[in-house]
Each structure stands twice: as C-alpha cells, then as structure tokens.
Symmetry: C2
Subunit: 375 residues, 2 copies
C-alpha cells in the first residue's frame, strides 16, 4: 500500500471541504505520503470524513485544528479552509513546525501571503499551493516545446480562460461568493489558474502592467462573479484572461509564438485522469491560393501514471523529505511562484477597483525578491 514506508510524509487535513476529498485520495495514491489525521470543527464530522475517504484505521480525527497541529505524528498539513482563514492557520501550522500545502487562492492579498511565507521560512517548513496542473507531465512537455525555437519561436501572446456555470445554489451559498470567506470570488478561484498559466509560460517574469477589462460582474455583496484582464511586458508581448462563475466550463490555454501555437482546452483538469493532450501547430500557413492550410494542428498525448494531484503530493513530499534528511532550508521556488501569482491577482483587483486603469507592477513589488525567475 502506498505511503506505508517509514519515510512517508504524514499528512493532516485541516477541514472537510469538497476539495479535501480529492486531495485525500491523492495522498492515498502517493507512495511518498500518508494520511494521518483530519480535523474539523466537529469531531464527528472529522470521523465521518476519515471513514468515507478511506483513511487508515489508525488515523486520528480531531474536533479542532489546534489538536491536529499539536499531534507530533503529523509532518505536514493540507489547508483547504476558506481563504480568509489561511493567514491564521498557515501561520499557526508553521509555528508548530508543520509543512504547509495550502489551497488556492493562497491568501486574500500579497501582504498577507508574505506574512504567511515569512512564518514558514522562519520555522523552516516547506510551503506550496495546491495548483495541481503544474505537476502534470504534460505541463513539462509543453514547456520544453515552448522553449524550442524551431517549433515555437518567441512567445508573443497568450489567451486563457477558466470558467464554470455555477447553479443557483452555488451562486447563493458557496463560500466563493461570500465576501467574508473567499472574498476574491471568481478572480481568486478560477482566475488564479489563468494568472499562473501566464506566469508559467513567461518564465515567471512579472508583467510590467496589468489592465482589467471593463465589464466585471459583481454579486450583490460586491464579490466578483466574472472578470478579465490583460497584461503586457511593454515589449509587444501580451496576455489576456477571462474567469467566470457564469459561463459554461472552460479551461482554455492558447500560447502563440512567432513560429507555432500550442493550445489545449483542459489545462487545469485534464479531460481524463490517466493521459492528457495538447495541440501544436508549428510552421503552418495557408496553401498558395489561400483556400486551405498546409496542415492541421497535431495532437500530442502525455500519459501519467499518477493523477496530477498525486504528483503534486509527490513533489511536496520530496521537498519535505529533503529538508528532513539534509536539514537544508525549504525550497523557495514554490513560495516565490505563489507570491507572484498573488501579486498579479492583487494588480487585477486593484485595476478593477480603479475603473480598469493600468496598474504598474513595479508599484506592487513586495518586500521579497521578485526579479525575473526563469525556473
């Protein structure tokens, strides 16, 4: 059985949100990790969650997050709580020496995230956010094609979207439409992925300028239900994204280079669990009389032995084990990427608040080092 070896990272789950079921399964599937405990505000709910999600017999179910953090058998926590609770509980976990995997959006804003990252750094614990698609082997395969000048050339522009159509119950009751819970709404939930995809494609170079698109849709409490933004690097490179709780499921990512286009419709969650694909057009044009194309886009398929969320757990656990075995400090890459994601998100929000005026990213710079990062 996976995760039974001595060196497996022992996870405690803080909260019983729907997404915690998916991540609990991922921990079960990951050889490097083990489900050890779950906490909820009710011990009964925690016990029920553990039973329903195939936790090991000896797993603990706690009626408070504090109890879970006091358990010396827990190495790392997964935090799927509403975003407004992240600062408090990530900081508390770090102070107890627990490594932290936090659901996105990581924080309500970059200042809050920096506090959280500071706590993790000073307590020597690994921080990572739960952006699963980053860990699919398709993502690495696409990156190598983006770096292939002959096939793709220079990346010029990107369009990406992340949308779903929330039903009436969702739009009235979900934590993602409540200003005091996940107050960043669609921007924090689905927009997070779009911003990550753009940063990923541009090697985490922050844009110079972020300019929201007119037409943001808010609910009656002022939470964003749909919005979009452009960003540019002041050198001809451009990206746009759109995120929404009001339109049919889409997870589009279109990357356009001078020599090629790379496109997919399921970048966040692949259509199927065991393999994923993308389309590449490279050096394609029109025939002589412009009555057709010289070729159609080609499909590339990438098989994955573990689901992407289990690969995220594997990567996180690898970093935790490296700290444990060598005593080295946590890897700063994932915290850095997460902070950039949050900085751009803050800029989009600020641009929306300022009537879609452009926000210069230089002015948004955090106190941490955020120079160009090509990892």
């Amino acid at each position: 059985m996976a995760g039974d070896n001595e060196s497996a990272v022992r996870f405690g789950i803080m909260g019983c949100a729907g997404i915690a079921r998916k991540v609990s399964r991922a921990i079960r599937l990951s050889p490097a990790a083990r489900l050890t405990a779950v906490a909820s505000r009710s011990a009964e709910k925690a016990r029920q969650f553990a039973a329903e999600n195939e936790f090991p017999e000896d797993a603990r179910a706690y009626g408070s997050y504090e109890e879970l953090l006091d358990d010396p058998a827990v190495d790392a926590v997964y935090v799927p709580l509403p975003t407004s609770l992240h600062r408090q509980w990530v900081a508390a976990a770090a102070r107890k020496g627990k490594h932290v995997l936090v659901e996105k959006p990581a924080a309500l804003d970059a200042a809050e995230l920096e506090e959280m990252l500071g706590e993790c750094e000073s307590n020597g614990v690994q921080f990572m956010d739960g952006t699963m698609w980053m860990h699919h082997p398709r993502t690495a395969r696409m990156k190598s094609l983006l770096n292939d000048a002959a096939q793709f050339g220079d990346l010029r522009w990107i369009h990406t979207s992340s949308t779903f159509h929330g039903n009436q119950y969702f739009l009235e009751n979900d934590i993602r439409v409540k200003p005091d819970l996940d107050g960043l709404g669609a921007l924090g939930d689905t927009g997070w992925y779009c911003i990550r995809a753009i940063l990923w494609a541009f090697n985490y170079q922050l844009p110079k300028r972020v300019t929201a698109l007119p037409g943001t849709v808010f609910n009656k409490d002022g939470v964003i239900l749909a919005c979009g933004s452009s960003m540019d690097w002041n050198d001809g490179r451009l990206a746009t994204f759109y995120c929404s709780f009001l339109s049919h499921t889409s997870m589009d990512l279109s990357l356009h280079g001078s020599n090629g286009c790379l496109q997919l419709k399921d970048f966040i969650i692949p259509f199927q669990e065991s393999s994923a694909s993308f389309l590449l057009s490279a050096n394609v044009g029109l025939n002589e009389l412009h009555t057709g194309w010289t070729s159609k886009p080609k499909e590339f398929e990438v098989v994955n032995e573990l689901p992407q969320e289990a690969l995220l757990i594997e990567e996180f656990s690898r970093l935790v084990r490296a700290i444990r075995s060598s005593g080295s400090p946590p890897d700063p890459m994932w915290p850095d990427i997460c902070l950039k994601n949050q900085l751009v998100l803050d800029a989009v929000k600020k641009s929306i608040e300022q009537g879609c005026k452009s926000v210069e990213l230089g002015n948004m710079k955090s106190s941490m080092s955020l120079g160009t990062n090509s990892r």
Copy 2:
C-alpha cells in the same frame, strides 16, 4: 461550364492582387457568375492575369480601371485594390451602375464607407464586402446552435484571434504595412474578421464600449502590426480579440454561453476546402471528485459543395439578379453589417490613439440607421 447561362452576373476584376486570383477562381466555380473582364494599370499585366486565371477566351483585359467601368458587358466589379483607393473606385463603379464587391477592410474609416454606401444606394447597385467565411454553411450551422438555448444558453463572452507571421519581405514591402496604401495594418486586415465574428455572434448589436488593450505594436511608419481590444455591452457580455502580423497563423473563435461552448481554430479559412468543423461542449462539467470531465467536446462537420468564396459570389449574384429581375432596391443587410464592422474598427483605432481609453459607441454612431439588427 459554370456561369454560361444568360442570367449569369458578369464580373470585372479591378486589379491583379493575389487575392484576386482566389476570387477569380470563385467566380469561375460559381454557376451564377461569369468572369468577363480584368483591369490593371498595365494592359499587359491584365492580359497575363486573365490567361493565368483561366478567364474565358472572350474576356476583356484593360489597361485602366476606367475602361473596365465603361464596358457595358460588365454587371459587377470586384475591388481588391489597396484600401486607400476604395472610396474613389467604389464610387466610380457605382456611378457607372456596376454592383460592387469590395475586399476588406471596406474603407479607411466609417465616414468614407458611408460615402461609398451612399453612392451605391443612390445608384441602385448592390454593395458587399469580401468576408468569405460568412458564406460557409458552417457559419449558419453554428448560428443555429448559438440560438439553441438548451445546447448553448445565453452568449456570455467571446475570444477570437486572427494572426499570421509575416516574413521580412512582407513586413517591409506589403501594402498592408504601408501607411498610404492599407494604412489600417493588422487591425484592418486580420482584425476585420475578429470584429465581424463578434458582431455576427451578438446578432450585430453594437457594443456599448470598445477598449483597446495596452501594448499595440506599430512599425516605424506608425502602422499597426499587432493589437487587441475588448468590447462590452454593459450587461456582463464581453468580447476580446487579438490580431497580428507577428505571430503564427491562428484563426481562433471561442464562443462561450451559459450552457455551452462552441470553438474552432479555422473560422476565416477552413483547414480544408470541402468541409469544415467546429467543437461543441454543451452541459458538460466535472465528474464528482473533479478528476476529469463528464465528456469531451464533440466535433461537428459541415460539408460544402462549393468553396466559401464561391458561395459568397453566389450570394452576391443572387442579390444582383433579384435587383435586375424585380427592379427592387439593393438589399441593405450586407452594407449595414459592413458599416458596423467599420464603426467598431474605428472605435478600436480611436481607443488605441487615446491611450486605450474606452470609446463609447454611441458617440461613434454614423448618420445611417445602426440600431439592433438580429439578421
């Protein structure tokens, strides 16, 4: 042979641009039309064009546009001249009673286009622009799906692009990078199609507001090589487009409704000449644990017996023959659609010139009636 019947509309081609070869072939393929004459500034060039493009033996080759317009055997002209010459020659053709099919962009601005349309209207000749994809049966099929509330729901947002990577020769010499020839650059050339697609999808309801995206790329003469824009209807509906001479071939159109998404990558020129397809996702979501989708997008294929440019010729010829047989005035639909296309294009240009400030379309209203048009 096609176009040999008595009622066939007899076409004269004004100019020997590359696109005129494609349209000459379309006229040859169209049962309702006939290639009758071609004019160039050099009679020799016109003769050569006629020979190379399989004009009938009795077709005339003229060394000036005036001679062609004076030929009583010519019913209609196709005008592929640089945009800066459209006003002069469309007006001249209309005054000679010739029906006018003009290459896009129709004019340098809406005021100029209105003059041209006024000349056509007062001379009782049909006007149409050469936006070929409008005439593919795929377009009508997609429209019927967009109108299907169960499959698609309400249209919420659109993203579309039209790009190609011009080589060095193109970027230095093509008429589309010359301010005095096709001075609207990429916006006029490839952006025209994006704007048309957005208007088409929204039943030709003009947006309330057009807001260019920061980051327009100009050449040394101030011609647009790449730009993008958003537009919105002030009711949560939004569209964005990107057009460029600097990135790999793309002709993407993504239409997003509350219940479905309709997407294609070749909306301007289908990959193949004899059939074309699109993808539809309708009422698709994620599986219970969010580890995959309930289904993949489905491909719909539409077969066409004639290429879309021949279908354009068929439609134009049908309208010309209706005028001829019934003495009725020209159909205003295509001129209206063209003018709206140009009005939005003007607004994008104005927004770019004003540092990406939003341009209210109310202020751009032409003197012609431009209310909501659901055709």
